[in-house]
Amino acid sequence: MLDPRLWQAREWVTALTLAAFGLAPVFTELASQPFILDLIARLMILAIAAVSLNLILGHGGMISFGHAAYIGIGAYAVGIPAYYEITNGFLQIAIAIGASAVFAFFTGLISLRTKGVYFIMITMAFAQMVYFAFISIEEYGGDDGLVIETRSEFGGLFDIEDTTTFYYFTWVSLVAALYLVRRIMRSRFGMVIEGAKGNERRMQSIGFDTYKYRLTCYVIAGMICGYAGALLGNFTSFFSPEMMDWTHSGELLFMVVLGGAGSLFGPVLGTAAFVLLEEFLSGITIYWQAIFGVLLILVVLFAPGGIDGFLGRLGRKR
């Protein structure tokens, strides 16, 4: 894997994309286009969320329609302490990950007892519950949301108020998230998750309590996404329940499928394609959502495997 001589289209794209993200600040500085840097930072944060969704969706076969809830939970884990002037980033991120884990654990306990479309709908229902819960909490702005004055502080180690520092903080986070998911999926645990996706009944008959493994995987994905939420909260300095709206969960699903569910890097490409297309199309016409919708339908109908599948086919031709 680490030997470029063995690389095919897929590996090249992965390496080049990550390198391009890593070098982007230099180019945007030269071209004085700071907004593009913002765009990529947002893209990378959403990519972390998509990678975490892919862990349960692509690798684990659990179609969660409520993944945006963790983005909201993670974001509010930064926002609520900041509201009380607690700006310690380590603490905020710990809360983001911890709260997401707790939420994932308890909702997973119930959701994972259901199958198929019931699972899709119950995960969505739980996300809606958090959505309405945050709307109902007047103290933190309710539907209006909450603006924070300062980003997370990391005791002088580095300062993410600085755009470039924040950008690299995000970049490192994305690379780390990818590495983490790759390790997990290649570990014994990952084998069980993959096996349970392929044939849950058989996995049980050889002695795996698949429920327990899936629940663990569900919690891990929630934690990673909660972390992404904490980043997004810092990035926008603004939180509102709207972040958890079901349409955002749908968008995350689209990002994963567009990139290629079940592949490690696919979700990153899917997110990139999604965010850039959205930016580009919404600049052209106010009717951009229709183009987006048609594209979504076409991808589902004619491009199973998404971008990653396409790269895989490119690789095979060589």
């Binding site: 198929g116 019931y118 229902a125 109902s136 919708g293 594209l295 339908i297």
Partner: protein, 307 residues
């Protein structure tokens, strides 16, 4: 206790309930028999409303427009089935969710393009715009009563179709055993197309019944469709009876929450906080109900037999 208010609110809850039922019944048929998750069902609801609005403007009669709008909605349903949906039956639920999510975007934008962003009001004829005194000193809007009546008639009709006709037999068989229906030599393609159109008509009916109250507006189906899904999951996928019971339950919970929850919350929190929290908490109760039902009955309240 203000009994007049209570009775009015129960009727309001029923009105919301039957509206949800109209939407959910089509959804549960399509879902239960074709195993197809149609998020764009809410778009058909919206199309019904907009068709009716334009036709009311042209014909000058809401009732006439309503009867003309239904076949139009059915046509849209047919087109959607033929162009997109039928290619997806063999795919998994994730593909259904994504493709119909795409359809929602297309429909919403198309409506903005054709009708503009403002939304369109539907004027009601005089005889529907008034009120009926249902009990001494308790008046209720005539049109909302009409919605309740329509919903009940549709519920009875659907129940009769499902339990007493050959089509209904197929529907029941399909809900519990899909392969059996094809073994009976039925053209599954036609059955599905017909059912999808029926679902579209029911959704369109729901849309055009609510539009004179709230106006036809972009994205009007996007939130209610989620609630309709909650309804069919609580009721048990594929079950008309389940959809009916769950729709009324959800309608009543939502309305009662909006009417009485704030007074209740004031016992614990400041008046301002109670006022702002109450609607969100009553919206949340619906999802809590769903989670509770699924935790104890993973197949919903009335799962079709043999499934």
């Amino acid at each position: 206790m203000d009994w007049g208010l209570l009775i009015t609110q129960v009727l309001n809850g029923m009105q919301l309930g039957v509206l949800l039922f109209l939407l959910a019944s089509g959804l549960t048929l399509v879902f239960g028999i074709m195993d197809f998750v149609n998020l764009a069902h809410g778009s058909l609801y919206m199309m019904g409303a907009f068709f009716c609005a334009t036709l009311t403007e042209w014909t000058g009669s809401f009732v006439l427009a309503a009867f003309l709008a239904l076949p139009l909605t059915a046509l849209v349903g047919l087109a959607v089935e033929i162009i997109v949906v039928r290619k997806l039956y063999r795919r998994d639920h994730l593909d259904h969710v994504l493709a119909t999510f795409g359809l929602i975007l297309v429909f919403d934008t198309a409506v903005q393009f054709i009708w503009g962003p403002a939304g369109t009001a539907i004027p009601l004829p005089e005889w529907l715009d008034g009120r009926v005194e249902i009990l001494p000193n308790i008046e209720f809007p005539t049109f909302r009563l009409l919605i309740i009546a329509t919903g009940l008639v549709v519920a009875i009709a659907l129940y009769w179709i499902v339990t007493h006709t050959r089509t209904g037999m197929l529907i029941r068989a399909g809900a519990s055993n899909r392969t059996m229906v094809s073994a009976l030599g039925i053209d599954i393609g036609k059955l599905f197309l017909g059912l999808f159109a029926l679902g579209a008509v029911l959704a369109g009916l729901a849309g055009l019944m609510i539009a004179p109250i709230t106006e036809a507006s972009i994205g009007m189906g996007n939130e209610i469709i989620i609630v309709a899904f909650v309804v069919i999951i609580i009721g048990g996928i594929g079950s008309i009876k389940g959809a009916f019971v769950a729709a009324l339950l959800v309608g009543l919970i939502d309305t009662m929450g909006r009417s009485f929850l704030d007074s209740f919350l004031k016992l614990f929190m400041s008046i301002q906080n109670a006022e702002t929290s109450a609607p969100a908490i009553s919206a949340m109760m619906i999802y809590i109900l769903m989670a509770a039902v699924l935790a104890f009955r993973p197949q919903g309240l009335f799962p079709p037999k043999g499934r």
